[in-house]
Amino acid sequence: MKTSAAIAFTVILIILIGLGTAPHAESHTKSGTAEAAVHAFFDHVKAHDWDDAYAMVNPGDGVSKESFIRDIAGNNGSLKTISSIQKVDTKTLNDSGSEANVRADLQWSTAVGAVHETRDFKLTNSGGDWKLDWSAPQQVPTAADAKPVQTNYLRWDIVQSGASSNEWGVANAEPPRTRIISMNAVDYNGSVVIMGEVVNEDTVPGFVTINADLIGQDGNSLAQESSFDKISHTLLPKEVSPFRIDFPGRKLAEVKSVRISPTNLLVPASADPLVGVFDQHIEKDATGKAVLRGQLTNQSGLVVNIPHVLATFYDKSGKVIWVSDGYLDQALKPNQQVPFAVDLRDDLANQVQNYRVTVNYYNSSRS
């Protein structure tokens, strides 16, 4: 009785532990397919197990282990360095047994929120193990490759009149003159979207935030939102920034008017870094969605850690019909080109006559 009861309880415990552990073990042993190999690869990436992740790739020309890690884990304080893979959905595009193409929809958890990415992987079956073909990143080095460059761009500083005013900005100084030069309101995806452009008409830099208040048919406020990160807050003299404010769950039909209230503040600023935008063009991506693609070039001496691209789309009358944005997961080193792509509404692709790209940025060294 004594021993048999002890054995019975021990067996029950072992069975329960087995039931609790089996699902995990199953997910680790699921292999043999190209999709499973992609999942396993990103499991290693998620665990920062770079050795095992590198062991699963066929490195292309110029891909060393170090460059692979830089590519997948990011460098120079880029967004990828503060991202982690959250979810991987895969779909096999074709599988010949020895080669396969797998499309992976990746959801990254980043410091600026969730970022979705779609990547197509080519896999090769070598001795029963699928390996991902890994080519060097599409970064186009220029002559002055990745060297900091001394620049002489303008910089505006604020000289404090007294020690009491030690907070950021100068509340008692006259704010720079800014003006909203265009505005449009549309219904989109169950939201009211207010978009437009704001210009700094002054000779000093300003820090701008746009708040909007939807006024209902009865004259009461329906909702308040702000431009949040869909604006370039720091505007140099004469600089124009698009803005976009979303009101989820609202319809334009219930809105009588919109109250826009920009907030301006005089701030110190510098024209450095300066980011150039080249080769802009609208095209379809691998999934058939319309995107605006181009190249960013950091034309100045500072590394831009996290570039943020704001694209303004105009119709033939010059009206702003859409504003979209996207964060780049690569840092912009001086004089280096990095490709970018931002979404465009498919239904507007035909109406777009012109577009303009503004680059906002975050520098980890900036205070």
């Binding site: 009785m1 309880f9 950021w168």
Partner: protein
């Protein structure tokens, strides 16, 4: 065969009439003690009234004070996340006992989202000691109460001789050390101590029909439920149901008192439990309402205990360190716990707690705990498992000492001390808050120049989040517990300070809250983790100050209006506020007064003369 001059204990005895193991009989059932002859005899000293016990309850209490007192005087758990939260909530009670609306977290929340008793005790004592010292005094009192409760509990199950060993064992539990010093789990430890006391008095009422025991049991169980929700739902049942089963099993045995109906004994106890559940449910109605109406919460990785087989560090943290050397006793527990009729229910309760304490290693915790499943719950079940095992472990200790004498005593003490030391060492190498920093700069900033008219947010402060909250007059949009802003509720994220740990859901929740900064009057963000800087920089905040050599930065947004009332203020009816504010503390005070005023009469133990100890050889005789 003559009567021996002294008593011998040995489980390997061959005498059928002295059924092994001997601990199953209380001293009263055989007033002459257990007299055995063995080839390896050990003398059991019974010098007189209660002198068979290694230590009296008073000595156990003093030992608890001696071990835990210095550590608590050093305020070791002062910066644990749980203790900071408790002190923050207690501070509100100290300022406004019946005003249950606290405007400092979540832009305003009700104190009824957390069981009140321990916070109220700390609040009461804070008027004498100050808030931190009051917390430490309360925690010390709880540790002492726990040792005494285990003493009494073990006496019910395995007799007078095991009680002090079990009581002393509870002082050195690794699981207790982790809960007290790392987690700051004052409510859980207090609730457990009161529940164990209540369960032992429940035995007295169910078996002996003692009315005083009934009153004490009811008061203690209600007080336990008012300490901690987990204890209210699971802990009380885990300790009380086996005790009721024991009372029923003993009901037909005249050696334990007047013969009674087994069913009636059990039903009487169940009715008491039901009454306690109804009364405590009524007192805590606002709390349960908030629990049942709370949204789904995501758990951050550090709030979950993973699979122990797959994650070695998790196994170490949540199982090996809490159990300590008690792991070596597991084979004995499995062999002896169920085999003996009287300890069968105790073993089953231990077994359940053991399995749930394994967390995600088995599927049981997920199904049994449901929405309560988190790392602290798993830890709590392991704590309960170790407490439930203590009466049986005490028996093992007695048997070891009986067999190996001084060597066993030394080894058991070493094991106990190492079991207690291991969690403290673990805390040193794995502190809950790394690189602690001073928060007075932050509090000073918020408390001056009308900055408190705006709300603030901390990011990456960890357990020091509550420390800031308790030092400032300003309100934050964040908090700990069941409260959530509507924006964060959509993502199930309850604690924005640790948003990145929730993955993309956490960062999206943070984005959503920051988008509505103007509505919440959220002007100031204190950042201790640079991970968050890109988001708040792109969102329109600018760095204005730096503290602690730039490790903590203050970010401000200029267009934010002063915070206004979010109009979520919930006022409870007067009767509910009165019940909440008065009854839990009243139950506790009455229970403690009754226990002090009416101490248990000690069992009378027949004394027998022993030959002088020391050099006299023990006379042994082979069993036939």
């Amino acid at each position: 065969m003559g009567k021996p001059d002294s008593e011998f204990l040995n489980q390997n005895c061959l005498w059928a009439e002295f059924v092994c193991p001997p601990f199953l009989k209380r001293p009263t059932e055989n007033k002459r003690g257990i007299q055995l002859f063995s080839s390896t005899p050990v003398r059991e000293y019974t010098y007189g009234k209660n002198e068979s016990a290694i230590a009296s309850p008073g000595m156990v209490a003093l030992l608890a004070i001696a071990v835990h007192g210095p550590l608590l005087l050093m305020q070791l758990p002062a910066f644990a996340a749980g203790s900071q939260t408790q002190m923050f909530l207690a501070k509100h009670y100290a300022n406004d006992w019946f005003g249950l609306w606290n405007s400092h977290w979540f832009g305003g929340f009700s104190q009824t989202t957390s069981a009140p008793l321990t916070q109220q005790v700390v609040a009461l004592l804070s008027h004498v000691f100050g808030i931190t010292a009051a917390y430490m005094v309360t925690q010390l009192a709880v540790v002492v109460l726990l040792a005494l409760a285990v003493y009494r509990f073990a006496r019910v199950w395995t007799g007078e001789r095991t009680a002090p060993i079990a009581g002393i064992g509870s002082i050195f539990l690794g699981s207790l050390a982790l809960l007290v010093y790392r987690d700051g789990a004052l409510p859980a430890t207090a609730g457990t101590a009161l529940a164990i006391f209540g369960a032992s008095f429940l035995y007295g009422f169910a078996r002996g029909n003692e009315m005083l025991s009934l009153v004490k049991a009811v008061l203690l169980l209600i007080a336990a439920a008012c300490c901690d929700s987990m204890t209210a739902v699971y802990g009380i049942l885990l300790f009380a149901l086996p005790t009721l089963w024991l009372a029923s099993a003993d009901s037909t045995d005249e050696e334990y008192g007047e013969r009674r109906s087994t069913a009636a004994t059990f039903i009487r106890g169940v009715i008491v439990l039901a009454v306690c559940a109804v009364v405590s449910g009524f007192i805590l109605a606002p709390f349960w309402s908030s629990v049942f109406h709370s949204s789904h919460r995501l758990l951050a990785p550090d709030e979950t205990a993973g699979n122990f087989l797959l994650q070695g560090s998790t196994a170490l943290r949540y199982w090996i360190v809490p159990f300590g050397f008690m792991i070596l006793a597991l084979p004995y527990l499995f062999l002896s716990g169920f085999a003996a009729r009287r300890t069968r229910a105790l073993f089953l309760a231990f077994y359940v707690a053991l399995i749930v304490g394994l967390g995600a290693t088995t599927p049981v915790a997920k199904y049994l705990l449901g929405g309560f499943e988190n790392a602290l719950s798993v830890e709590l079940f392991t704590f309960w498992a170790t407490l439930l095992a203590l009466p049986l472990v005490a028996v093992l200790v007695i048997e070891l000492v009986a067999r190996y004498q001084q060597r066993a005593v030394v080894l058991v003490w070493v094991a106990a001390v190492l079991t207690f030391a291991a969690p403290l060492a673990w805390m040193t190498y794995h502190p809950s808050t790394e690189n602690r920093f001073r928060t007075d700069y932050i509090a000073n900033f918020l408390n001056r120049d009308n900055h408190a008219q705006f709300r603030y947010l901390t990011l990456g402060f960890g357990s020091q989040f509550a420390e800031v909250a308790s030092r400032t007059n300003a309100s934050t949009v964040d908090g700990i517990g069941n409260g959530m802003l509507p924006e964060a509720r959509e993502f199930g994220v309850s604690h924005l300070d640790n948003a990145k740990a929730y993955g993309s859901a956490g960062m999206e929740a943070l984005r959503a809250v920051l988008k509505h900064a103007n509505q919440y009057g959220l002007k100031f963000i204190f950042v201790r983790d640079r991970y968050y800087e890109p988001l708040i920089a792109f969102a329109g905040w600018r760095q204005v100050e730096a503290y602690e050599n730039g490790n903590v930065t203050l970010w401000s947004k200029e267009d934010v209006p002063p915070a206004r009332d979010l109009q979520t203020h919930q006022t409870l009816p007067g009767i509910e506020r009165t019940l909440w504010g008065v009854v839990p503390l009243l139950c506790l005070i009455l229970a403690l007064l009754l226990m002090i005023a009416t101490p248990e009469r000690d069992e009378e133990v027949e004394t027998m003369a022993l030959p002088p100890t020391g050099t006299d050889p023990i006379r042994a005789q082979e069993a036939i």
